[in-house]
């Protein structure tokens, strides 16, 4: 019997695939954002609304993951953006290899931003890096303001936390201030925004953040292309 020292990350294969995705995004000047949340926090509605508001300003693409059905892809396609549905057939998260396989279906040269809607789950998607530039987690007001404390992995790996469905807050015990405070205990540099897709409250800040990040990426790619690199 002998011992082999390894000291490798268990998900190193996923990380390598994610890096390949990231390089592909960078080469084409595409900004990629990974949306993660529990089922029903409003990821699809947020994408629909974002697509409508940024129509004619940014070219978006959407990759959506679900255990079953193409319902979300059909909803999003109605807003005129290229969309592909990944049916995971039971897997509770997207992995970088599957995302990479689906990227061939997009004209990346034409896209400014790719939104990945992860499988509704706040646990597993947190462990799988997909190559995204930013990760956004959503917590809706009916879920409770202690959710960041219950799912620290998701919050800790996120760049932005969106508190969604603020129009429903008056009907729940949810406190936006308390939720923000809880999230900042987990990740002190987190950007926190609160919005309602339905009432439009807070949507401007989200769209501004989104456009700024997607636009920066586009500009960088254009200047690299101009240098003939």
């Amino acid at each position: 019997m002998s011992t082999i020292e390894i000291k490798d990350k268990l998900l190193s294969k996923n990380d390598q695939n994610a890096l390949a995705n990231r390089n592909l995004f960078d080469r084409h000047g595409v900004w990629c954002v990974n949306l993660i949340s529990a089922p029903g926090s409003g990821k699809t509605s947020l994408i629909e609304s974002t697509a409508d508001h940024l129509s004619g300003r940014l070219n978006l693409g959407v990759l959506v993951g679900d255990l079953e059905t193409e319902n979300d892809a059909n909803r999003i396609a109605a807003h005129g953006v290229p969309v592909r549905q990944i049916i995971t057939g039971g897997a509770c998260h997207l992995n970088a290899r599957t995302v990479g396989d689906f990227l061939v279906h997009f004209d990346l040269e034409r896209l400014d931003a790719l939104i990945i809607e992860n499988v509704g789950n706040l646990v597993c998607p947190a462990s799988y890096y997909l190559g995204e530039h930013d990760r956004v987690s959503l917590i809706s007001t009916p879920e409770g303001d202690d959710k960041p404390l219950k799912y620290p992995g998701a919050i800790h790996t996120s760049d932005v936390m969106l508190i969604t469905k603020t129009d429903l807050a008056p009907y729940t015990d949810f406190s936006i201030a308390r939720c923000r405070e809880n999230a900042l205990k987990i990740e002190s540099e987190l950007t926190v925004m609160a919005l309602s897709v339905r009432s439009g409250e807070g949507l401007d800040a989200w769209l501004e953040w989104f456009e700024l990040h997607a636009g920066k990426k586009k500009k960088r790619a254009e200047s690299t292309a101009a240098k003939g690199k």
């Binding site: 019997m1 002998s2 011992t3 082999i4 020292e5 390894i6 000291k7 490798d8 990350k9 268990l10 998900l11 190193s12 294969k13 996923n14 039971g90 897997a91 509770c92 998260h93 992995n95 646990v123 597993c124 947190a126 462990s127 799988y128 404390l149 620290p152 992995g153 800790h156 900042l184 205990k185 987990i186 002190s188 540099e189």
Partner: protein, 112 residues
């Protein structure tokens, strides 16, 4: 159920090392898993057992070293994070950065 795909990744790594080092059987795997990796040890053991059944590594044992969230504050203080609250007891700041506790590492293999 992400333990199943974690187990698949783990056994793929074992196979990679088998091809490189030329061993027949892996009898034990030592892992380091941080609390923040949200891995249920029992579910992982179950998945590894199911996936190795009937193969050369059947009966492989998992030794799991658990780690807890550690933070490093800008004041230089390092501390274990209690209840996931990043409050530095030395300077009172809450801007400490996580410096451990999210590991999902394979440390070594015992092989024949």
């Amino acid at each position: 159920m992400h333990e199943l795909s974690i187990a698949e990744n783990l056994l793929e790594l074992v196979d990679k090392y088998r091809a490189e080092k030329g061993f027949t059987r892996c009898s034990s795997i030592r892992l380091r898993i941080g609390l923040l990796a949200a891995v249920d040890e029992e579910a992982l053991r179950f998945a590894v057992e199911a996936l190795t059944e009937g193969g050369p590594d059947a009966g492989v044992s998992l030794e799991v070293e658990r780690t807890f969230p550690l933070a490093r504050c800008s004041c230089g203080n390092s501390f274990e994070v209690q209840d996931l609250i990043y409050l530095c007891e030395r300077c009172g700041s809450t801007s400490a950065r996580l410096s451990g506790g999210d590991e999902l590492d394979i440390l070594h293999l015992e092989v024949d």
